[in-house]
């Protein structure tokens, strides 16, 4: 209810346009699935960073965070729900827009579901990691907009594992297991650190 769906829609319009531009630039080159994957994943990174940054700037700004802290619910719990809502929003929009992205980048539709599952799994960790960096880099007293600089290096394992899983048989369960394990690790750290940072930095 509180997530602004139009805003996510605009972000995915960005993905579609950007992937079309890539497709256009690469039109005479034999593009294999791995290059297309890289394009999709990098666009996904930018989308997640923008989305999470925006939601955190709006929903955890000075006057709102005060109300959250006055709530009997722990801030960690609020952060967790918020992250999951952002996640659901992003996953649904990815699922809706991915056919168009597949067309523009001329990816085989055979791997449609594999890529969607991989995206859904990696988005979990992406959202939870960027929530930490959004909360530290995004507060009012911060003078520089550095969220992406701080966040992108932390995304590299996800990029590597999603592209790397293309090398293996996509049915291999191990790469999916990595994503789950990585998500569990982030789940343990992220709400704790995020709410800690929000409490200390946003006021």
């Amino acid at each position: 209810m509180l997530m602004k769906s139009t805003q996510s829609f605009i972000l995915f319009c960005f993905i579609i346009i950007a992937s079309s531009i890539f497709g256009l630039a690469l039109r005479y080159i034999q593009v294999d699935n791995k290059i297309s994957m890289t394009v999709i994943w990098i666009l996904l990174f930018l989308t997640v960073i923008t989305k999470v940054e925006k939601v955190y700037l709006e929903d955890f700004s000075d006057p709102k965070i005060q109300q959250y802290m006055m709530s009997p619910f722990a801030l960690e719990l609020i952060v967790l729900t918020k992250n999951l809502m952002i996640y659901l929003n992003l996953v649904i929009f990815f699922l809706i827009t991915s056919p168009i992205i597949f067309l523009t980048l001329s990816i085989d539709f055979d791997i449609f579901w594999q890529i969607n599952i991989l995206a859904a799994l990696s988005l979990l960790s992406l959202v939870f990691i960027s929530s930490i960096t959004a909360s530290i880099a995004n507060s009012k007293s911060n003078r520089l907009a550095i969220t992406s600089v701080v966040t992108l290096p932390l995304f590299i394992p996800i990029l590597i594992f999603s592209i790397g899983s293309m090398d293996m048989d996509l049915g291999n369960i191990n790469s999916y297991l990595f994503f789950l394990a990585y998500f569990l690790l982030n789940l343990a750290f992220s709400p704790l650190l995020t709410s800690f940072a929000l409490k200390k930095l946003s006021m």
Partner: protein, 200 residues
């Protein structure tokens, strides 16, 4: 009973609050005065437990305040609006109530909206409201959630005369009901025996 003893607070290398001692009992109203930028909001944030003081302590019934105590006992109404722009008045209220785990009571919600706004479409989006109406919205928190301590940052700013007198009435009623009210404001409201604390 709220006790502030030897409270100091620093931002960077700057000492914003220095050695403040205060005590507020039940059914008392404390008005904090001082020129702009003197640290009124900072002081209220310290009282509410949002900011950690450099030295000294804030005690509620001789217990140092922590997130559980402040969440249970305090209502904080800050200077800025905290409503969601894209939600309607009613949805915002439902959201605040669920955030405070209060079960919404249709009758009291309608009554309080009517008391403050008169006749208004409750499904109006927040961003469609006028400046004054947006300021009024925050006061609904005071009417709908029942906690003993109110901390109000500049509550009269941007309100018309009529609403100010309504708000003063609400505050006086809370005072009569054993409440503790702390507010930072420039004006002196017409409430019987208030305490004034000048920040300098």
């Amino acid at each position: 009973m709220l006790n502030v003893s030897h409270l100091s607070f620093a931002r960077g290398n700057k000492l914003v609050l220095k050695d403040i001692n205060l005590s507020i009992g039940n059914s008392e109203v404390l008005v904090i005065k001082g020129s702009n930028g003197i640290g009124k909001s900072t002081f209220l944030s310290c009282m509410a437990g949002f900011l950690e003081p450099l030295e000294g302590r804030v005690e509620y019934f001789s217990k140092s305040i922590d997130p559980t105590i402040s969440a249970k006992n305090f209502i904080f109404v800050g200077e800025e609006n905290f409503a969601y722009e894209d939600l309607s008045i009613l949805d915002n209220i439902y959201y605040w109530l669920s955030l405070n785990s209060v079960t919404p009571n249709q009758k009291s919600i309608h009554k309080s909206i009517e008391y403050l706004f008169g006749r208004i479409d409750m499904n109006k989006k927040f961003h469609q409201l006028s400046y004054g109406q947006k300021r009024k919205m925050r006061m609904l928190l005071l009417l709908l959630i029942d906690k003993p301590v109110w901390i109000l940052d500049d509550p009269f700013n941007g309100l018309d005369k009529e609403t100010i007198s309504k708000l003063i009435k609400i505050i006086s009623m809370k005072k009569a009901l054993d409440g503790i009210i702390i507010m930072a404001t420039h004006m002196t409201p017409h409430i019987k025996d208030i305490k004034v604390f000048e920040l300098s």
